[in-house]
Amino acid sequence: MSMPTPEQAILKSGSEGAVADWASDRETFHVPWGKAMMWIFLLSDTFIFSCFLIGYMTVRISTPVPWPIPSEVFALTIAGNSIPLVLIAIMTFILITSSGTMAMAVNFAYRGDRKKVVWLMAATALLGASFVGMQAFEWTKLIVEEGVRPWSNPMGAAQFGAAFFMITGFHGLHVTAGVIYLSIVARKVHRGDYEKKGYAIVEIAGLYWHFVDLVWVFIFAFFYLW
């Protein structure tokens, strides 16, 4: 009477069934699985950075104390002239340049030009490292010379320090992780580890790196320029 359909007959139960159900032969994203997973990770990271930026917006709106003017706080005196945001501008150009070298590395990876991939990825990692170095300089200047702390600062609203250290610190951590990640992948490309597997890994690492640049675009606009 109630014969199980062929589909029901092969359904397993319990944890084995759960694995079988999730692994059933269905594919939504026609990309290498690593690339889909990197995109989903970046989506979650988008939410984290957005929460930080929205938190910063909230404290900045809600304080009646004037917010320190970033243009003045981050000015550098070069040859006697105070130039607003000059270090931040240089850091922005460095990160964009590193995104450009990374995009070209991905392109050469798919063309199978290993030597150029290694050089371009090494250049990307080096530019990233110099970005982190400049950030360390900026933090030192702010902490030692300007007396900015997460709980207070001499320039205005006390929340400035907490927002600054949290947001730029988390971004700097991402850049640092990216430099390490790119160095590892570049080394493996150099060794020829991906000759059989294909070079999707370079594009996946590239996605992460471009995302770090993308986040900086938003930090630059909302924290430094606003």
């Binding site: 990309v31 995109w39 988008t46 929205i54 909230t58 809600s62 340049t97 450009g100 995302f211 675009v217």
Partner: protein, 114 residues
Amino acid sequence: MSDSATDQHPIALYLWIWLLLFVLSTFSYLVDYFNFQGYLRWSLILLFMFLKAGLIISIFMHMAWERMALITAILVPPLCLLVFLALMAIEGDYTESSRLLFFTAPEIPAPMHH
């Protein structure tokens, strides 16, 4: 592995985008340098920011060549952040108004204690 036709783009495309990002960054820096204020400042900052973000996502991250399923899975969910943003803007305004109401110095100066 040529899932997104990435191997066919000429290098020149990336160099052009790179140059464009440089120019846009220079523009957004100039907004601060020329000290534009008010709505002009905010709209220019947002304009350059969105243009840069769009170029990075669509070209550098190859989103322009992905299939619709992936594009929507990644780009639609962040839209709910706009709701969060609006809620927190309202909340922040409310907090500021209550702080101004209850925590500002009284008109008559208080007697000095020290």
